[in-house]
């Protein structure tokens, strides 16, 4: 057996980097801190590659299946006799894959930010938060139990909040961070209740016990029904709500576009490649229980339909937006929808588990090309100092490296062979085709829309008419272009990784072939999307506006993101704040406190009124005494006579 206990260092290195930079970083020159943070991530990345190599090629397989290995485990908090929260490192194909993804993208972003964030006043803070995020995300994926996952889930949430609100004197950034945190926190409530229910039913948090294929705990909670579904199904749906919040699935997606207020490298790392796929990762982690628990099939149906709907919904909105980062944000939502859908339609074991494999495959390729797109967008923004497409045009002459790498990324996301997303998307479509024809058709439409909106962006930025720039746009420094080039290479070649041999639902390799009947139409649809974008946007014309006008209400509806922000504002401001919170505050001050004051008032007033009786004046006492005696005599006399 290989000793994997060193893997604990992979999350710990960024953690120490965070503590060190947070406490002592201001003592150095900013660049020293940046280089320190980057080096830390570089070491973590090397360790991850080594781990992946050892895990996939040198560990012992049992019955041809990769095993779940515990690299490190310690009890952090003992709750009940059975339930305890552990902190540790669990290695299995998906966690090892995630280690590689996270450390790679995070290292690229660290490197890129050395150039992008140069001269910013909060440079050290930026790097310490990046380290915090990397630590949390790595801790999340190696979690040995669902509660550890929840712990790091919250930590990535707060790192995301801190980094979105990075420009903290900008009110929009502050509001966006707050929104992201609260929406995901709301979703996490579902996650927490799901965990409570799940652990109550099964008596364990441990992933190995929970997801063992023939584990007896899976059959728990089947009989008890609430609204037609078993309690186990409910717990899985609740857990999925947490995942949907983090992964910006409809209707909990509203925070992601706003999160683009953060610095662009942050968007690349957190809001494109790693944190937002945490929901997908969680469903994959719990996949055996989603699939095998009695009656839990309904949970997977929810996952599939939510994923499919989100992918379509977001793709439609992406076609109408002008802020390049927002286009990319909606594109991220759409692609994560793909991954969710793939999990939702997957079976378990062998070729049945095609969807699972495809989802993980797409997660991997998406991380590379989406990080590339965002970093490319960062280079563009760096050059023209604007986020909006209307301010850009003809940039291909000024930004040659950015242009080429961006084009590669666009071709990749559009699913053009032989770029990586062609392979992964094709597997997803194949999995959907064998399970649910309706969802399959939806994904065909989304594939076309994706190609269209990406090339709309591409032609608008790099072709079209040149705009008036404040100064001549210049190519980014090499710390920024090197990550672009590395990620571009990754986007081209990662498609050739034999995922079906490495990352599968039950750890056993299976053979998967490209199904031409599905692949060829999808490529044609992609090319069609590119072609339409070419016609409309290669030369600036009024045609797109006229089409938008022709669509009338629908375009306006989509442009305004289907008014979901307004609905949320209504619910929070008008309902929760005005109808619950304010009345409670009033009630507390005036009714509850008022009655306390009322008691005090009654006491003081009464004593005020009766204190005159104790005047100490003998004449008054005598007068009262005699009048009382007379009244009593009259009363008694009256009673005696009648």
């Amino acid at each position: 057996m290989i000793d994997f206990s060193y893997t604990i260092l992979i999350p710990l290195i960024p953690f120490f980097m965070f503590v060190f930079l947070g406490l002592a970083g201001w003592k150095f020159k900013p660049m020293v801190s940046g280089i320190l943070g980057t080096t830390g991530l570089f070491v973590a990345a090397l360790l991850s590659y080594y781990t992946a190599f050892e895990y996939f090629f040198h560990t012992e397989k049992i019955l041809g299946a990769y095993q779940k290995l515990t690299g490190f485990n310690t009890v952090w908090l003992q709750l009940t006799d059975k339930l305890h929260i552990d902190l540790g490192v669990l290695l299995d194909p998906i966690s090892v894959m995630m280690l590689v993804v996270i450390t790679t993208v995070s290292f690229m972003v660290h490197l890129y930010s050395l150039g992008y964030m140069k001269g910013d006043t909060g440079f050290v803070r930026f790097y310490s938060f990046l380290s915090l995020f990397s630590f949390s995300m790595l801790g999340l994926v190696v979690a040995t139990n669902i509660f550890q996952m929840y712990i790091f889930w919250e930590l990535v949430g707060v790192s995301s909040y801190l980094l979105i609100s990075y420009y903290y004197d900008k009110p929009t950034a502050v509001a966006a961070g707050k929104k992201a945190f609260i929406v995901t926190r709301f979703a996490d409530l579902g996650f927490l209740i799901g965990i409570l229910l799940l652990s109550w039913l099964t008596g364990t948090f441990d992933f190995k016990t929970l997801t063992g294929a023939h584990s007896p705990v899976i059959t728990q909670g089947a009989g008890v029904a609430f609204m037609g579904l078993s309690l186990m199904t409910w717990s899985l749906i609740l857990v999925f709500i947490g995942g949907a919040g983090k992964s910006a699935m409809f209707p909990l997606h509203i925070w992601l576009p706003d999160a683009m207020e953060g610095p662009t490298p942050v968007s690349a790392l957190i809001h494109a490649a790693t944190m937002v796929v945490a929901g997908v990762y969680m469903v994959a982690r719990l996949f055996p229980i989603y699939f095998m628990a009695p009656g839990a099939g309904a949970g997977l149906e929810v996952v599939a339909y939510v994923g499919a709907f989100t992918s379509l919904f977001a793709a439609v909105i992406a076609c109408t937006q002008f802020d390049i980062k927002r286009v990319l944000a909606y594109s991220t939502m759409s692609q994560i929808g793909y991954m969710m859908l793939a999990l939702g339609v997957s079976g378990y074991g062998g070729h049945e588990g095609l969807g699972f494999m495809a989802s993980m495959f797409h997660l991997f390729t998406h991380a590379m090309f989406k990080a590339l797109l965002f970093l490319g967008a960062g280079a563009i923004i760096h050059a023209v100092h604007s986020n909006v497409m209307q301010d850009m045009g003809g940039l291909r002459k000024y930004l040659p490296i950015t242009h080429i790498t961006f084009l590669i990324a666009c071709l990749t996301i559009a699913g053009v062979p032989p770029f990586s997303a062609f392979w992964s998307k094709d597997e997803i479509l194949a999995a959907a085709f064998h399970h649910n024809k309706l969802l399959f058709l939806v994904e065909y439409i989304v594939a076309g829309l994706t190609a269209f909106y990406m090339f709309r962006l591409y032609f608008n930025v790099f072709w079209g008419k040149e705009k008036q720039y404040h100064h001549t746009p210049h190519e980014a420094p090499f710390t920024m272009t090197i990550p672009l080039m590395i990620l571009a290479v990754a986007s081209i070649f990662t498609g050739f990784i034999p995922f079906s041999k490495l990352v599968t639902s039950d750890g056993v390799a299976f053979a998967s072939e490209t199904e031409m009947m599905i692949a060829i139409p999808s490529v044609v649809i992609g090319l069609l999307g590119i072609g339409i974008a070419w016609l409309l946007y290669k030369k600036e014309s009024s045609l797109p506006d006229r089409i938008a006008a022709g669509l009338g209400g629908f375009h306006k509806w989509a442009y305004n993101k289907f008014y979901f922000d307004e609905i949320y504002l209504f619910v929070t401001k008008k309902l929760i704040f005005a109808r619950i919170s304010r009345p409670i505050a009033w009630f507390d001050r005036h009714i509850v406190d008022g009655s306390m004051n009322g008691i005090a008032w009654v006491t003081t007033t009464t004593s005020e009124k009766i204190k005159g009786l104790q005047s100490g004046q003998l004449q008054q006492y005598g007068f009262v005494f005699i009048s009382g005696a007379i009244i009593l005599a009259l009363v008694f006399g009256y009673l005696l006579i009648f």
Binding site: F152, K178, L196, I584
Partner: protein
Amino acid sequence: MNVLNLFILIPVLTMISIILAKEIRYVRVIAAIGMGCQLVLAAVLIFTYLAIRRAGNTDEMVLTQTLNWFPSLNITYAIGVDGISVAMIGLTSIVIFAGIFASWEVSDLTKEFFVSLILLSTGVFGFFISLDLFTMFLFYEVAVIPMYLLIGIWGSGPKEYSAMKLTIMLMGGSALLLVGILGIYFYSASDGGPLTFNILQIAKVHIPLVVQKFFFPFTFIGFGVLGALFPLHTWSPDGHASAPTAVSMLHAGVLMKLGGYGCFRIAMFLLPEAAHEMAWIFIILTATSVVYGAFGAIMQKDLKYINAYSSVSHCGLVLFALLMMNKTAMDGAIIQMISHGIMTALFFALIGMIYGRTHTRYIDEMGGLMKIIPFLAVCYVIGGLASLGLPGFSGFVAEMTIFVGAFQHADTFHRIVTIVVCSSIVITAVYILRVIGILLLGPIKNNNFLSFKDATWFEKISTVTLIAGITGIGLAPLWLSNMISGSLSHIIERLTM
């Protein structure tokens, strides 16, 4: 000599030295040294306690000592500690230590201020080490009375009103409590032997259920007033708003914990069957506090009111978890007391420091403080994150222990209420982030603020001590949790018999 006596002795000696001090500037140094000793002593106590337990001692209480000081009524000075009281003593010494440094700049009647403050803490320490109902009650009153003077004299705003309100409401609670204690006393010897106030001895007799049910509400509500039990919490917002910084810290941080501690040590432990029968009423009330307090905090504009309502919510959670009456939930309740104690002390300290600079507590009048006083602002953010239950801080440990524990309850009613209570984590996030957003982030609203100096050395000591407390528990909670749950076994046995 029993080490516990030192917890009374040191504050008394400190008070005497303060009174004898020739110059005012020595006063705070003496106070700081005294309370520093107290902090070291508390650390020693924790290690001693853990060593005693490791040595295999499984007594209910250790380090016990009994002096009969009123033989005709059998009132004793009986002291002793278990894991829970040790933890509470640790909390108290941290908060009072930080409190001294937070009130470094009190210039008005300095001597009297520090004497009252330390007198208050003496009462609290005495309360936690006592095993005798009467002595406990005595120390309880010692802790409550100086509060009136501290708020009435050194307070701000409508201080006389607030001081009066707070004292009268707490005295009302004391009155109920006294009835309850006397009730327990008169039934403390079922076989006609001598009556006793000693908790351990009372625990050995069986009080008839009718009697238990009659006196349980008295004791529980009596302590509940102090623990901000809905709807008897309204002294808290006004009291905190008017109190000077250190008093708010001690009051919310420690004194409110006396309520929770008393509820389970006296009301529930001595009257277990009644506690079982009547728990559901109080579960509904406390669950209401949790959600109601959190919603109430959202719309407040005064920093201290926000924190006061937040305390109502968090302290509601303490009582809620105690009433779940299983080991995990009660363990969580004790951790929550400690966690909330340190956290809220941190908040009040910071509010005091911010107020000392801006002379306003209305969040709308401030903004962008992160740029001006980064140290204090970062501390505030840390406190806020701890308050909304971020992992790595003590609040998370406490809340999760409570939620998991409460959810293990066999009864569906309890589990549904637990889910309702869980929702507070979202509401808490809303009001915390709202304050951080308005107060610390965003553009600078008032240019007069630009001249502010960041934290002074004594302010740094105060905040860093408290932050070390919450992160220490938050990162390595196992020892604390084990220490508490080890002592809970006896109590759970009695509650489930």
